[in-house]
Amino acid sequence: MSVLSRWGAVLLAPAMALLIALAISGLVMGALGVNPFRVLTVMVDFGDTPSQQVTQIVAVLNRALPLFLAGLAVAIGFRMGLFNIGVEGQYRMATIIAATVGAAVVLPGPLHVALIIAVAMVVGALWAGIVAVLKVTRGVSEVISSIMLNTIALGLASYLLTGPFRGSPEGASIVATAEIPESGRIGGLNGVFDVLGLANPPRQLYGFLLVAVVVGVLVWVLLQRTRFGFDLRATGLSPSAASASGVDARGMVVKTMLLSGAVAGLIGLPDLLGRTYEYNSDFTSGLGFLGIAVALLGRNSPAGIALAAVLYAFLDRASVPLQAAQLPSSVVTIIQGTIVLAVVVANEIARRLSRRAAERASRQAPSAPAPQAQQPAAQEVTS
């Protein structure tokens, strides 16, 4: 019963949100003369042939992968009440430096990949560390400093790319770093489809998926099962109570930002190690901001974020077939936006409902038949 109701409470909010968002989007579409059911049909249609269908699945997963990492990075901050809006700059700096380092060295396969991943995480962490240091030593709001650092990262990366890190020939239309050699790349996972007896599409499922899964599990264990995670969450719930319990608040800010930045550093790697093998002027930006939405959707838990990332990616994918079917593809953005807002509102409502239920339950809780014996000897109040 209690397990059931607990799960009910967990699922209530997202389900409510999804319904609200679909209803609102449906209304908007209806108002503009677009048939929402046709939109829905197109959205869930993955194509005719098995190969096409699996390709679409791969497309969704590949898109979900960086979104998941971005959501995770943001969520780590959220969990302790830090708003890391600077994921954007962190993964940009991490990617360009990791790409350059990766292209500059030659190492045996796994080592090479490990080096690139390590460099990306360290750079992401350091870039996030600036925010943390400014916050704990100078009291600068992390929101403001990370907004500023995002632009600074953009400019700095551009300078590095066109200057010292340039690997592409003069005059090439895309400026890029040098290519990472074979040993530094991660192959696709399409073998899985053969094992599952599915069609093996030409599109490769990013091998980085495995890394992301490992990172997700590690983050979950760290947050939910370790003392560090407890301290982190306690600080998020009440910084003053956490400090009184012995958590070093400043140190916690720094550690959390470093961790968040390290995960942020991974965001650019699925593409870098699985497809482009270089950082170039056509780098996919904006994932840091989407990560905020994904973290909110996933209620800051790794599993939730994974689901949210897949949902987001699924909606994203739909924009292409929608256009092909002459339907306005911006409904996708509308749905994404309303879902986020609806989830946020629904979370709040669900939180209040469950809090009220808990209060009711605790009022009705039987008093434990304990130390009434300790009642002291009756004495009149002095006046």
Partner: protein
């Protein structure tokens, strides 16, 4: 004890308060004057006339206006206790509304359109945060995401398949141009300031350049933005409504218990906030003559930074917006002048070093000196910075100033806290 503490003890503290206020204002002017002298020195030494040219300052004013409006918008919301990180989204909505109304009915309508669309964004934020009690930052982020989708959707619905210049990323041109003003004699006609500026005299020409920049070809919305600063001050600090609004940001429960309609005031404040952010978007539409997707380019966030920078006060946020606008204007006017900023930084750091040493903070003092030396070396060795580096000058400057001044900031006490009647 209670009877002895009567009115005469209260008098000095009142006067003292007023004196302190005066001293504050005087300090600000003194600071501005010292800064101007410093910049003049740096201008003469480096020969970078762009540092104080009227051209730089008119650009600075222009780039300041949208940020200033957004920051003022943020002020209303945050003084009423609602953190508004959705300013960017509201600004985006404002640009779209201005483009849509502007191409059909001209510039006056564009203003109305921008205000209305921005206000709609504000309304949404108010519903989420005030009525539903959603975390303010989260709601703001969601609004930013939603706004980008909504304008694309609207454009796709309204602007496709037309041949008047419109498309899914932009509106048609505006039906009429907004006016702009120059101060006669000083900046137009005889242009006395212009002549003075050309002489390149120490301090005098610099002052003339700054004044001329601020009085030449000032757009109607820039004027409105500048006038809104004192107007906002008067409204928030000198009227009953302002007192009530600010009380919602300081202690909503107290306000509520005195019959102040907290929810309604928060709604009004956040809607005004959205409307002003929208107006900031209109400035951009006026400059471009069209609505264009991506036009705001993060200025909503910069406005938010200016607000914090300015310690949640109209004068302060104006300073923040101007600092950003100046750095941005300078960066766009002359890349080599940006290098001269390094010299200015070096001078300022030396001053800080002396001040810190005087206060026996050796570590800080030495650190300031080291950075001063680095800035000086940079100034002496760098000819012109690459575009990538120059592009973030304003952001870096803002960050540096914030990290020097942040600890003195004080946000409204209940800012960002969800207020629910009866819970506290």
């Amino acid at each position: 004890m209670s009877t002895t503490m009567s009115t005469d003890t209260s008098a000095p503290s009142g006067v003292g308060g007023r004196l302190r206020g005066l001293a504050g204002a005087r300090r600000v002017w003194l600071g501005v004057a010292v800064l101007l002298v410093l910049i003049s020195v740096v201008r003469v030494v480096s020969g970078e006339d762009a540092l104080t040219s009227s051209s730089t300052f008119s650009a600075a004013l222009l780039l300041t206006a949208p940020i200033l409006l957004v920051a003022l918008g943020g002020l209303y919301a945050e003084r009423a206790g609602v953190v508004n990180i959705g300013l960017e989204g509201m600004m985006i909505l404002g640009t779209w509304g201005a483009g849509y109304a502007g191409y059909q009915w001209g510039w006056q309508a564009a203003i109305v359109g921008g205000l209305l669309f921005g206000a709609l964004g504000g309304l949404l934020h108010a519903v989420a945060t005030v009525t539903f009690g959603v975390d303010h930052v989260i709601s703001g982020v969601a609004i930013n995401i939603l706004a980008a989708g909504v304008v694309r959707f609207l454009s796709e619905s309204v602007y496709t398949g037309r041949d008047d210049g419109a498309g899914i990323t932009q509106s048609p041109g505006m039906a009429s141009r907004p006016p702009s003003f120059s101060v006669p004699v000083l900046s137009s006609g005889p242009d006395l300031l212009g002549e003075l500026e050309e002489l390149h005299w120490f301090l005098i020409s610099d002052l003339a350049g700054v004044l001329r920049g601020f009085t030449t070809g000032v757009g109607v919305l820039t004027l409105i933005a500048v006038l809104l600063v004192p107007a906002t001050y008067l409204l928030l600090w000198r009227t009953a409504f302002g007192l009530r609004l600010r009380s919602c940001g300081e202690n909503p429960a107290a306000a509520d218990s005195l019959g102040v309609a907290v929810y309604r005031i928060k709604y009004i404040a956040v809607i005004i906030s959205g409307a002003l952010a929208g107006l900031g978007g209109v400035v951009l539409v006026f400059i471009a003559n069209i609505y264009r997707e991506g036009q705001t380019n993060g200025r909503g966030f910069i406005g938010l930074a200016a607000l914090i920078f300015g310690n949640w006060r109209p004068g302060g946020l104006t300073g923040g917006a101007l600092l950003f606008g100046f750095a941005d204007g300078l960066q766009l006017r002359s890349r080599s002048a940006v290098v001269a900023l390094l010299l200015l930084v070096a001078v300022l750091l030396v001053a800080i070093c002396i001040w810190q040493l005087a206060r026996r903070r050796v570590v800080q003092g030495v650190l300031a000196l080291v950075f001063a030396a680095a800035a000086l070396v940079g100034y002496l060795t760098i000819e012109e910075l690459p575009t990538g580096i120059v592009s973030f000058t304003p952001h870096l400057v803002t960050l540096l100033v914030l990290s020097l001044a942040s600890q003195r900031l004080r946000m409204p006490k209940a800012d960002g806290l969800v207020y629910r009647r009866g819970e506290h």
